[in-house]
């Protein structure tokens, strides 16, 4: 059973529907006791880093997420939810993340060729940089996934498993032990995205 962490950020409808579509039991909750029953946890997120990180803290779920990650529960951050797994973000200031992964989040503005549009929005192909990662075991080099973001993670070489080329190689997916992250939206990435969610569910069941 997959638990989607609801901390008041973004719309969780598509994420929940996508797990249902692949036949996975899934629930959305902001309650630690409920979420603790899940085999695997999804940390979603859209919007601004500071606002999302504050909401996670205010709900007390930041400590819960860290404890679960330490216990070995499979955890996957999606989009801004992935960015929050890192140490800090430089999105309009400097903000602390959960520090579950080494690295930080920086703006594309100023670090990409000027002719490129920001946000990076649309379908882009994945370049798999680590073949021994379970999360992408059902994905092929060059498979396309859907991105929408203006900030990206860097300094995360030790967890990097896939990149996408957009003026430079942007961090697309990360994994370290039981902690996973996708910058793209698997719930909007057609059959490729559903395969990633399905693999995460399998990993979660195996870990249980």
């Amino acid at each position: 059973m997959i638990g989607i962490i609801d901390y008041g950020v973004g719309n969780l409808f598509s994420l929940k529907s996508s797990f249902e579509a692949i036949g996975e039991e899934v629930f959305v909750s902001g309650d630690k006791n409920e979420l603790a029953k899940a085999d695997g946890l999804i940390l979603p997120g859209v919007g601004a880093f500071e606002d999302a990180a504050n909401k996670l803290r205010q709900s007390g779920l930041d400590e819960f997420v860290k404890e679960e990650a330490d216990k070995g529960t499979p955890l996957m951050g999606i989009c801004l939810g992935m960015q929050i797994l890192f140490e800090k973000s430089f999105e309009y200031g400097e903000h602390q993340g959960l520090g579950l992964l080494k690295g930080h989040v920086v703006p594309m503005e100023g670090s990409l060729p000027k002719e490129l549009k920001i946000p990076h929005i649309g379908w882009n192909s994945l370049h798999i940089t680590s073949t021994d990662c379970e999360l992408l075991r059902n994905i092929n080099e060059g498979d396309c996934v859907y991105f929408v973001h203006s900030f990206y993670a860097q300094g995360c070489e030790d967890s990097l498993i896939a990149t996408a080329e957009y003026g430079k190689e942007l961090t697309a997916a990360v994994a370290k032990g039981n902690v996973y992250g996708c910058q793209f939206h698997p719930e909007k990435s057609g059959s490729v995205g559903l395969r990633i969610l399905s693999t995460f569910s399998e990993i979660s069941k195996q870990t249980r």
Partner: protein, 252 residues
């Protein structure tokens, strides 16, 4: 490499797709749910659902259908039609839409773009503009292309992007329905002044029109069409194969 997007647009009235379609294997060709799934399974990169209902009953039905579509299709969904307030944004986003397209609503109240972009993010707000040449000047038309607002189109679109619209759908009334190709001149004029994705709409009649579009205007990000897809005149998998042969990056 980021890919060029191919986007079918479905006009929905009272819960049904208008303009009959003819696809083998679809039991109900006027069902937005079945047709949406068909496109999603057959290479569409994104879907646009346009609500052309006038009644409140039709609007509620549209919302229900959107929820069903979003439960079965896992590609980005853009919704337009009848978007006049932030509550309208809220209503369709809750049903699983990813982006909301505004047209007449933004003409009446440009602040709608500013407010929506602030609340939901730029990436969520699409400005859809119906544009036609009048005495050699690009003018914005409202109410489904029936009413000349008198506004100069290029500066209007730029002002919408400055307010926070994250994407532009440019529909040329001059080429719409003519099937003689996209309005390259108009698209170039818009692409030159905005730095957000531009989606070309109006005029596609065959596969070559898409090849010409992306080859001539590399800054255009996507091609949108309705009837040529609905009537099977252009099939998206075939279209994408031809684009790829022409060194245009697509998702296969």
């Amino acid at each position: 490499m980021i890919t060029k997007r191919i986007i079918p647009c479905l006009d929905v009235r009272n819960g049904r797709v208008v303009k009959g379609v003819n696809f083998e294997g679809l039991s109900d060709v006027s069902s937005p749910i079945e047709l949406g799934k068909y496109y999603s399974d057959n290479g569409a990169d994104e879907l646009v659902f346009y609500d052309i209902t006038a009644s409140a009953e039709g609007r509620a039905l549209f919302t229900d259908i959107l929820t069903e579509v979003a439960k079965t299709i896992f590609i980005p969904l853009t919704v337009g039609g009848g978007i006049n307030t932030l509550d309208d944004f809220d209503r369709v986003l809750k049903c699983g839409a990813d982006k909301v397209s505004v047209n007449s609503g933004a003409i009446r109240d440009p602040e709608l773009i500013t407010k929506a972009a602030k609340k939901y993010g730029d990436q969520c707000v699409v400005i859809s503009a119906d544009v036609k040449r009048v005495d050699g000047v690009f003018r914005v038309f409202a109410k489904g292309g029936r009413e000349n607002t008198g506004m100069e189109a290029i500066s209007w679109i730029k002002s919408c992007v400055d307010r926070g619209a994250g994407e532009v759908v440019l529909n040329s009334i001059d080429t719409d329905g003519v099937k003689g190709g996209f309005d390259l001149e108009m698209l170039r004029a818009v692409s030159d002044v905005v730095n957000v994705p531009v989606i070309a709409s109006g005029g596609a009649g065959c596969i070559d029109d898409f090849v010409t579009l992306f080859n001539t205007l590399p800054k255009v990000d996507a091609g949108l069409a309705a009837s040529i897809f609905h009537f099977g005149e252009v099939e998206i998998p075939e279209l994408k194969k031809v684009l790829q042969k022409n060194n245009i990056n697509v998702r296969l």
